[in-house]
Symmetry: C2
Subunit: 153 residues, 2 copies
């Protein structure tokens, strides 16, 4: 993607300590379970469901329960570490470790949801609404949902 950044593929995988740090900063206890859950969220492609996070996480922490994943994800969302992404076709809830403003590419073939960051686009949209104004609505944030098909690279 020429002008976009993908938060999942940019940086080296976060260390245990970085993950613990993020949890601590958010006021959450850094349990083994939460560390692997947060790690999964950061490394799993797209916007996984609780189920997908659980499947990934049981390989590292075999006794972890799906309920714990739900509770941890709720805690992350409440703490602002993570956000819920409206799921594309009404399936399960999806979570995104990236809280910065970004947009989504939704592929109708593979059902994948990819992040798309583009400050220039953000700027364009903000300017548009700054100039135009909505009569009875005060916009706060924008997220563009782009439907289409992934091209073979």
């Amino acid at each position: 993607m020429s002008h976009s950044t993908d938060p999942h593929s940019l940086s080296a995988p976060p260390t245990q300590d970085q993950l613990r740090g993020r949890l601590g900063q958010a006021g959450l206890r850094a349990t083994r379970q939460r560390v692997v859950i947060l790690e999964s969220l950061l490394t799993l492609p797209g916007h996984p469901t609780a189920e997908q996070v659980h499947r990934r996480v049981v390989t590292q922490e075999p006794t972890i329960s799906l309920g714990t994943v739900y509770k941890a994800l709720d805690a992350f969302v409440a703490a602002g570490l993570t956000r819920r992404v409206a799921s594309a076709e009404g399936a399960s809830r999806r979570y995104d470790a990236d809280c910065s403003e970004h947009h989504h590419l939704f592929c109708t073939n593979t059902q994948e949801i990819m992040d798309y960051c583009d400050p220039q686009l953000d700027h364009l949209i903000r300017d548009f609404f700054a100039a135009r104004g909505l009569q009875n609505f005060q916009p706060h944030s924008f997220s563009l949902h782009i439907t289409g098909v992934k091209r073979p690279d």
Copy 2:
């Protein structure tokens, strides 16, 4: 909303015949149930859940079952009469009778989802992507999700 049009409030309520026509064109049999379901979708404010459609529809057709509402909505979506709207905070699926391209205003106070049509905005976005191009993605349609708060009129 100064420059937008709301498909739910624009026109006079559709007649039975118009509803039947729409169903027929879509290749669906015009049963009593489907007529009232489609009517509810068109007149209900926002983007109702199957549950909400059912609650509305049982007043006119008391024996209609929730399962029928689900099946009818699925049929509408398959036929292109209706589309699913990604629900805001992971609640139930929501449906929208309007298939034309439009955007959504989501109020964080009332949890309402309002339609927002703006050809100028569409144009702006299309131009932007026409000029820029995405490397491995062929965009097809765009929908802007605007989060904010409703202002008292």
